[in-house]
């Protein structure tokens, strides 16, 4: 029972930490991944999606001029303050996109349409922002950094790493919040995906005062920023490793105690002809069964708690492909934790059975 509790606790802690990490990284790269663009052009030395500097908006012409580029668009990602009905203000992240192409438009609309932002001071806000902004209703008028915007659409589940409410609007309207004649990103679609590397290299050669990334590279850069440079990734992984260690120690202790409790039986088995490998099999089977049951219990608990955890604003990424490697990690931890028991039975002298 103690073994199972140890493994269940270990599974819970480890999967929660890794699920939260992947959840945060998923949020941090969500807009990049959902934007239908192969190439991202940004300011020099950009570190991640959320903190970008302005670049001249006419850079789009250099991108469009390149053979192999099918289309290009500009995006503005910036910050603003939304005045709350209560009188306070909430910092929001503005995403300005081209409603005609729909590049970088919100994709999970539950009310309205992304195209509705065209032609005026219209905005789309994500439903997850209701925690901070209160109930959202189409037709509401909000004051954003001194300018009034009408809510024409509500998306659901679109977040960034910063957790600031996301406000989507047309590129033209978002320019009002940004230095003149600048944009945050120029994004492009490539005609022939097989030539992606070649196009990116050409852009890098011709736009030396900008950073140019493929979608995958920009996702990676953003993930590495939050993971390594902020130390956040290390924090998550240390906690996950701590969970595994604590679980491993509990399992090791209980399996060892169990082995000692049955040491006479192990000695008898050895005396009557069991090989060390036969005894290892018994111990490993015990550890393996504990791993399977404990992992199953921990997994069920975390799946049951997922909604509750997400209600408080934490994204927990749980998928089959997280559970599969985690199972093998937990199993390996349990098998490794049987080391002291294995050593004990290996050294066990079967003569002990004749000593009463």
């Amino acid at each position: 029972m103690t073994t199972l509790m140890g493994i269940t606790f270990s599974t819970l802690l480890t999967i929660t930490q890794i699920g939260m990490y992947f959840g945060f990284m998923g949020n941090a790269t969500m807009i990049i991944r959902h934007t239908d663009a192969d190439v991202w052009v940004a300011s020099k030395n950009i570190q991640n999606f959320d903190f970008a500097n302005p670049i001249p908006e006419d850079r789009i012409n250099r991108v469009r001029a390149l053979d192999g580029v099918e289309s290009a668009d500009r995006i503005i990602v910036w910050w603003g303050f939304l005045k709350l009905p209560s009188g306070g203000q909430e910092q929001v992240q503005i995403v300005g996109f081209n409603p005609d192409s729909g590049i970088a438009a919100p994709w999970a609309m539950i009310e309205g349409d992304a195209y509705d932002v065209k032609g005026g001071r219209y905005m789309i806000v994500d439903k997850t922002s209701e925690q901070r902004l209160g109930k959202l209703k189409l037709g509401q008028v909000w004051e954003l950094t001194g300018k009034k915007f009408k809510l024409v659409g509500i998306s659901e589940g679109i977040k960034t790493f910063t957790t600031a409410p996301l406000v989507f609007m047309s590129y033209n309207q978002s320019k009002a919040f940004f230095p003149a004649n600048t944009a945050t990103y120029v994004v492009a679609k490539i005609k022939d995906k097989g030539r992606l590397g070649e196009v990116v290299e050409t852009l890098r050669a011709t736009m030396k005062d900008n950073d140019v990334y493929t979608k995958g590279e920009f996702v990676y850069k953003t993930v590495m920023y939050w993971t390594v440079q902020t130390g956040m990734g290390m924090g998550f992984f240390l906690t996950a490793i701590l969970g595994l260690t604590v679980g491993g120690v509990i399992v090791g202790q209980t399996i060892y105690a169990n082995t000692m409790e049955h040491i006479q039986e192990f000695g008898t088995l050895k005396a009557i002809g069991a090989k060390n490998s036969d005894l290892y099999k018994i111990i490993f089977t015990q550890a393996g069964i504990s791993a399977v049951i404990g992992f199953a219990a921990g997994s069920i608990i975390i799946l049951l708690l997922k909604d509750l955890i997400e209600k408080v604003g934490v994204t927990l990424y749980l998928s089959f492909w997280l559970f599969v490697p985690m199972f093998f990690i937990i199993l390996l931890t349990c098998l490794l934790s049987a080391y002291f028991s294995i050593r004990k039975v290996k050294m066990l002298d079967p003569v002990m059975v004749f000593r009463g």
């Binding site: 088995l269 050895k270 005396a271 009557i272 069991a274 090989k275 003569v351 004749f354 000593r355």
Partner: protein, 224 residues
């Protein structure tokens, strides 16, 4: 008669804190099929050490142990479990049954170690329990058996897989006199009816009456 087990000038020396302790010295004896050999001697005379060497649990410091005419002393320690499994059945003073297994399952453990098929194990195990008069207790756990019944299960387990040699260490020590007598009869039966070579280490003077040969150990040496 065929010699099942033979020791020649077997010596066992333990080294404890730089001091050499001679537990058994120059013991030569043989054990034939159908024979009961009784090894007697005072406590600390080396009986158990000798039995351990005969049973390939301990390797002698010098001398040879032959099992089924093959020399086993000097073999790699990794090979000894297979020798024990193939040739020996063990009966222990404290029975050493597996408490979480039924009487039948205790016997099946040996058969499984010997590589028997699962389908044949149950029938054989119940047959062996029948042979020791415990068929009705087949599904009982050791905690529900009397001392005599436990030792009978231990005998049935020792017979599992038909080993040529049975080694018994103080088999009557934890039993009352009546049960002890029946256990000794059972050992004699193993030798005379089933043709096993039986070696017993015991203090019990009643065992002398059934043994075909009695040897005395004193300070690790044989006194015929």
């Amino acid at each position: 008669m065929d010699i099942a087990l033979e020791t020649k000038d077997v010596t066992k020396i333990y080294r404890q804190g730089g001091i050499e302790v001679v537990a058994v010295e120059g013991v030569s004896l043989s054990l034939e099929a159908g024979m009961v050999l009784l090894i007697m001697g005072p406590s600390g005379s080396g009986k158990t050490t000798l039995l351990s060497m005969m049973g390939c649990i301990l390797q002698p410091t010098s001398g040879t142990v032959r099992v089924d005419k093959g020399v086993v002393s000097g073999l790699s320690i990794d090979l000894l479990p297979d020798i024990r499994k193939k040739y020996f059945g063990f009966v222990f003073q404290s029975f050493n049954l597996f408490p979480s297994l039924t009487a039948t399952e205790n016997i099946e453990v040996i058969l499984r170690l010997k590589g028997w098929k699962k389908a044949d194990m149950r029938e054989t195990a119940v047959g062996l329990l029948d042979a020791v008069g415990l068929k009705q207790r087949a599904g009982f756990y050791p905690r529900d058996l009397s001392g005599g019944e436990k030792q009978r299960v231990a005998f049935a387990r020792a017979m599992a897989g038909d080993p040529a040699i049975i080694l018994a260490d103080e088999p009557t020590a934890n039993l009352d006199s009546k049960t002890g007598n029946s256990v000794l009869e059972l050992l004699k039966d193993m030798a005379e009816t089933f043709g096993k070579a039986v070696a017993i280490v015991s203090h019990d003077p009643r065992a002398e009456a059934l043994a075909h040969r009695v040897v005395f150990l004193e300070d690790g040496r044989l006194r015929q």
